[in-house]
């Protein structure tokens, strides 16, 4: 059973629809109690950083998410704002993030690398470039990132991107005037800047692989983080 954290922000409906099409049992967790016993966690999110982290704290999810990451050690997938909340903070706001992945979210510059105007937010489809060696960093990274021959176009809609303090945490990049982290992660935590629930077949395949890892880990308990 995969729990989708509902802290009031984000496209829960599309995630649930996609998991339903994949026949993956899912629960929308509006409270930390509803997350108990989940084999995996998805943290969606669209909107402003400060508002997001405030809602996460108000609803008691901060400790619950950390418990899932460090104690239960289940796979955790953060999407878009959900990914950025895993960081230490964001240029968008003043609040601290969950601090699970070192680094901060930064705003796209006004100009690209050729000094031309860069339009922000970045809205649209972009190709993922896996970082060399990224898939070796954890079973989660290896399982989720597209492999040779897989569709790798995903949908992005964001003004901020993750700037990881540790380069090893960047698993894949994409381009929007500059190169930025499209997928980040460490051990049992992975974050995607793009929206798999809105990325058609490529997104559905990624969510299917995530569900597969959660199921495998639940039954075998033998995966390494």
């Amino acid at each position: 059973m995969i729990a989708v954290v509902d802290y009031g922000m984000g496209n829960i409906a599309s995630l649930v629809n996609m998991f339903r099409r994949l026949t993956v049992p899912t629960v929308v967790a509006a409270t930390p109690k509803a997350m108990v016993g989940a084999s995996g966690l998805v943290i969606p999110g669209v909107g402003a950083f400060d508002a997001g982290i405030r809602e996460v704290h108000t609803r008691g999810f901060a400790d619950a998410i950390k418990g899932a990451v460090y104690d239960d050690r289940i796979p955790v997938l953060g999407i878009c704002l959900g990914m950025q909340l895993l960081l230490e903070g964001s240029e968008e706001g003043v609040s601290s993030g969950l601090g699970i992945v070192p680094g901060v979210a930064r705003r796209f510059p006004a100009q690209d690398r050729t000094a031309g105007r860069l339009r922000v937010p970045h809205v649209g489809w972009a190709e993922l470039t896996p970082v060399a060696g990224g898939s070796e960093r954890s079973d989660l990274a290896a399982a989720l990132l597209p492999r040779e021959g897989d569709a790798r176009r995903f949908y992005f809609v964001h003004s901020y991107y993750a700037d990881c303090a540790n380069a090893e945490h960047v698993l894949a990049t994409a381009e929007h005037g500059v190169s930025f982290a499209a997928a980040i992660g460490t051990k049992n935590v992975i974050g995607t800047q793009f929206h798999p629930e809105k990325s058609l077949g490529a997104g559905m395949a990624l969510l299917a692989r995530f569900a597969g890892v959660c199921l495998e880990r639940e039954s075998s308990r033998g995966l390494s983080w």
């Binding site: 496209n11 829960i12 409906a13 599309s14 629809n17 996609m18 099409r21 669209v46 909107g47 402003a48 508002a51 704002l81 006004a110 690209d112 050729t114 000094a115 031309g116 105007r117 860069l118 339009r119 922000v120 937010p121 970045h122 809205v123 649209g124 489809w125 972009a126 949908y155 809609v157 964001h158 003004s159 929007h176 005037g177 929206h195 629930e197 809105k198 990325s199 058609l200 077949g201 997104g203 559905m204």
Partner: protein, 270 residues
């Protein structure tokens, strides 16, 4: 090289999908749920669903229908038409739409775009600029499905929407709507120069060559209506959308749509 997003528009009037010409003479096209499903199967980049009579008739969005439509979309979708409150926007976004498209209400209530962007983020709010002519024949941003001209030029309206926090501009030429005569490239260039957010061109699209032209003029995305939905023989309705391969083949070699070259570079390269 970035190929502009291609965004079919599904126009809805009284719950039915329809086509228009210059925002008038709506002709019935079918059940919106079927049409959205077909576009989803064709894997289009994005979908825009527009209720073309809600604001004019003072009706709120049909939230139940929207929830059903959102359930058919595994690609991004935006909705516009008759949104006047934060609560409606919240319900629409929560039911599976990425963005809400705002025009009339933000002109009549100057703070609406700002309110929505503050709560849901700029990337969730699109400022729609419907370009028509006032009684003096001057190009103006209009509201209420093109039936009332404001005093703003299209650029001024777009700038105002973006200043309030809109993350994109949906720029529609009413005069070219449904006429399959090509985009108004000069209008696109003017508005795209005026703002730093993505501009979606709309009105007049015939095919991939028009997308390339719009992108050269500064559009980041290309919307269309009539080119995707047309009537065949015996009143049969055909939904068509160019495949990604068609787009790539035709637009290969065309410069990036998301980035505007500084004038000096453009002059040097021309």
């Amino acid at each position: 090289m970035v190929i502009p997003r291609v965004i079919p528009c599904v126009l809805i009037k009284n719950g039915d999908a329809c086509k228009t010409v210059k925002f008038r003479e709506p002709t019935y096209v079918g059940d919106p749920v079927n049409i959205v499903r077909i576009f989803s199967e064709k894997e289009v980049d994005e979908l825009a669903i527009l209720d073309i009579s809600a604001s004019r008739e003072g009706r709120p969005p049909d939230l139940r229908q929207l929830e059903r439509l959102a359930g058919e979309c595994f690609m991004p979708a935006s909705y516009g038409g008759g949104i006047t409150t934060r609560e409606q926007a919240r319900t629409i976004l929560r039911s599976g739409f990425e963005k809400v498209i705002i025009n009339t209400a933000s002109v009549l209530t100057h703070s609406l775009i700002h309110e929505l962007a503050s709560e849901f983020g700029s990337q969730s709010v699109v400022c729609a600029v419907d370009v028509g002519r006032d009684i003096f024949g001057k190009e103006r941003a209009t509201i209420l499905s093109g039936t009332r001209a404001t005093r703003d030029t299209p650029e001024k309206r777009a700038e105002a929407g973006v200043a309030q926090g809109a993350g994109e501009v949906l720029l529609t030429s009413i005069g070219r709507d449904g006429c399959l005569c090509g985009y108004d490239l000069e209008l696109i260039a003017r508005v795209a120069s005026a703002v730093n957010v993505p501009v979606i061109a709309n009105g007049g699209a015939r095919g991939v060559e028009d997308f390339a032209a719009a992108a050269s003029a500064g559009a980041s995305a290309c919307a269309g209506g009539a080119m995707f939905v047309f009537h065949g023989r015996h009143r049969a309705v055909l939904i068509t959308a160019p495949s990604r391969n068609d787009l790539v083949a035709t637009l290969q070699g065309h410069r990036q749509a998301n980035i505007v070259m500084p004038i000096e570079h453009a002059a040097a390269n021309s």
